[in-house]
């Protein structure tokens, strides 16, 4: 399960650190204590930044790094499609062998296919993705209100 790609992202995470955003969430995996604080910044419907801080296992940390790679710069609709595909892969219990089409969508994230065989670790891989989904709902829900210079800070435990 520890593909080199995963270890690389773990050791050299992309986009780590908290930068200004439109919404912030804090997610915890209570069974193992993994934590992430994640902010999203939108420019219209385009993801301008996903920044994060957290602690946890290599899987949860690498997954956040991969997420940053994949989603920053994308339109929210496309990002949601990517998130959906990643979720499908992770819930496949090792039964999906990613094909070229999937690799096109998920890029480095296909390396997590092996993780889906380990039920105890799937939650780790999904932690940042669930946080991103939640932050996006908050950020885009808030665009109706006048845009504020300060990032909205919300916590979800």
């Amino acid at each position: 399960m520890y593909q080199d790609v995963i270890l690389d992202h773990y050791k050299h995470p992309h986009g780590r650190g908290l930068r200004p955003g439109d919404a912030e969430v804090h997610h915890v995996n209570p069974t193992c204590g993994d934590e992430i604080t994640l902010r999203v910044r939108y420019e219209g419907s385009r993801i301008a930044d996903v920044s994060y801080e957290g602690q946890g296992c290599s899987i949860s940390q690498a997954s956040a790094s991969v997420l940053n790679d994949l989603l920053v710069g994308k339109d929210v609709e496309e990002a949601q499609r990517i998130q959906g595909t990643f979720l499908e892969l992770m819930q496949s219990k090792g039964r999906i062998e990613p094909d070229d089409a999937m690799e096109e969508v998920l890029e480095d994230a296909v390396a997590f296919a092996g993780v889906s065989k380990y039920p105890a670790r799937v939650k780790c891989a999904l932690l940042s993705w669930m946080a991103w989904k939640d932050a996006t709902a908050q950020a885009l829900g808030d665009t109706e209100a006048p845009a504020s210079a300060e990032p909205v800070e919300r916590k979800t435990a």
């Binding site: 915890v28 209570p30 069974t31 193992c32 380990y118 039920p119 105890a120 670790r121 435990a157």
Partner: protein, 423 residues
């Protein structure tokens, strides 16, 4: 000599089935073959289940959930796989609605306790009423008496008509009222064999917004069980009566209810996060499974469900119906024998209680035992039924998928011997 079993249709191939049950080869009292007619108390265990248990301990044993090593993952898969099997067996809409307990009694107590600690609208308190029936097993009486005592709620019940062993529902509107929070009743009585009219009771209960708990302990082993068709809110049953191991029971409950209702036992596995100051709980079913669950026993129950399904619950029901019909007919021929409960094979389970003249059931059971015939005697944990009939106890013969017409004959012959012995 005419074949006394002629005309019996729908019987299973018991010769083949009995080979699966090692205990049925046992001989007792100096070599008499065992005639096991105590299936309502507990069923026997097929080789397939015994082997599953051994294999579990020999290859997969580990504590479930959260483990990252092979055994823990395999044990978790087996345990959760058993939940899938049980969910399918009772046609549950979701596997997360299946809670493993240690027996049906725990399942029933679990509901009583959840309701005692629940918030509105489920909460049972001094303003509210609980409804049961006079033919319940003690395990569906005492938890409600305790709940009533402890909350001040009023305990009411449907009476029993001794003429035919059915519930008297003539006053259903007075028994189940706007104050009723829960109606809990047995699907098939373990002492009378009566099969109760679910639909009428459920309709009235839901009309007034009461929850319904069905004790299916004597139903799940013997007929197809469909929790959705029953339309109940909770259904309880027990592993050891359906070819499974001891130490495992099931509570099925509707998902929304399991989400809303508070936990019962606290501990490992049932939590989401714990601090010294407060804790939050895992989603159902785990919320109701505190501590290391009966892992091997759940896996064994899964194997029992596979076994029963491979034979077919419809076929098992048909087999038992034929045996029960034959048994009722033959028993009614025994002089001085009085069947306590319905005397038809329609709408009844395969447990048949009776009295034999003035001979005390203890004596009946003991003399039958000397002939190798195992029946149960006593009040069968349903003493109110005995009180209603004005008898101290009954003798009960109860059948299962491996029971044969020849065993019914052995029982009838045995009863003749009892009569001569004490005559």
């Amino acid at each position: 000599m005419t074949d006394p079993h002629k005309g019996l249709t729908g019987l299973l191939d018991t010769e083949a089935i009995r080979k699966d049950f090692p205990i049925l080869d046992r001989r007792v009292h100096d070599g008499k073959p065992l005639v096991y007619l105590d299936n309502a108390a507990t069923s026997q265990t097929p080789r397939q289940v015994i082997d599953t248990l051994s294999t579990y301990y020999e290859r997969y044993n580990a504590n479930v959930h959260r483990g990252v090593h092979v055994l823990a993952e395999e044990a978790t898969e087996l345990y959760e796989g058993a939940r899938d099997k049980v969910a399918e067996f009772v046609n549950a809409p979701s596997r997360d609605e299946v809670i493993f307990t240690k027996n049906a009694s725990e399942s029933l107590n679990l509901v009583a306790n959840m309701l005692g600690w629940a918030d509105e609208p489920y909460r049972v308190d001094r303003e509210t009423e609980i409804v049961i029936t006079e033919m319940e097993h003690h395990s569906n009486i005492v938890p409600w008496q305790l709940l009533a005592q402890r909350t001040g709620a009023k305990l009411k019940w449907f009476g029993l008509d001794p003429a035919d062993g059915t519930l008297d529902l003539s006053n259903i509107e007075e028994v189940i009222t706007e104050k009723t929070k829960i109606v809990s009743f047995v699907l098939v009585s373990n002492i009378l064999g009566t099969h109760n009219p679910v639909e009428q009771i459920v309709r009235r209960a839901h009309e007034v917004g009461a929850l319904v708990l069905i004790d299916a302990s004597q139903a799940a082993p013997h007929m197809p069980l469909d929790v959705q068709a029953l339309q109940a809110d909770f259904v309880a049953f027990t592993g050891h009566k359906m070819c499974g191991p001891t130490g495992i029971g099931v509570l099925w409950g509707r998902q929304e209810l399991l989400e809303d209702l508070p936990p019962f036992l606290g501990g490992g596995e049932m939590i989401e996060t714990v601090s010294m100051h407060s804790s939050t709980y895992a989603p159902a079913p785990h919320k109701f499974e505190a501590g290391t669950p009966p892992i091997a026993q759940a896996v064994g129950l899964g194997a029992a469900v596979d076994y029963l399904t491979s034979i077919g619950m419809e076929k098992i029901a048909a087999h038992e119906k034929a045996i029960t019909e034959y048994a009722v007919r033959r028993l009614m021929e025994v002089p001085d024998l009085r069947v306590i409960g319905p005397t038809t094979a329609e709408e009844r389970g395969s447990a048949i209680s009776f009295t034999l003249g003035d001979i005390h059931p203890h004596d009946v059971g003991q003399v039958l035992d000397e002939q190798g015939i195992a029946v149960r005697v006593g009040h069968h944990c349903a003493r109110p039924v005995c009180l209603r009939y004005g008898i101290p106890a009954t003798t009960r013969a109860s059948f299962y998928l491996y029971s044969t017409p020849a065993e019914v004959d052995a029982l009838v012959d045995g009863l003749e011997h009892v009569r001569n012995f004490f005559g």
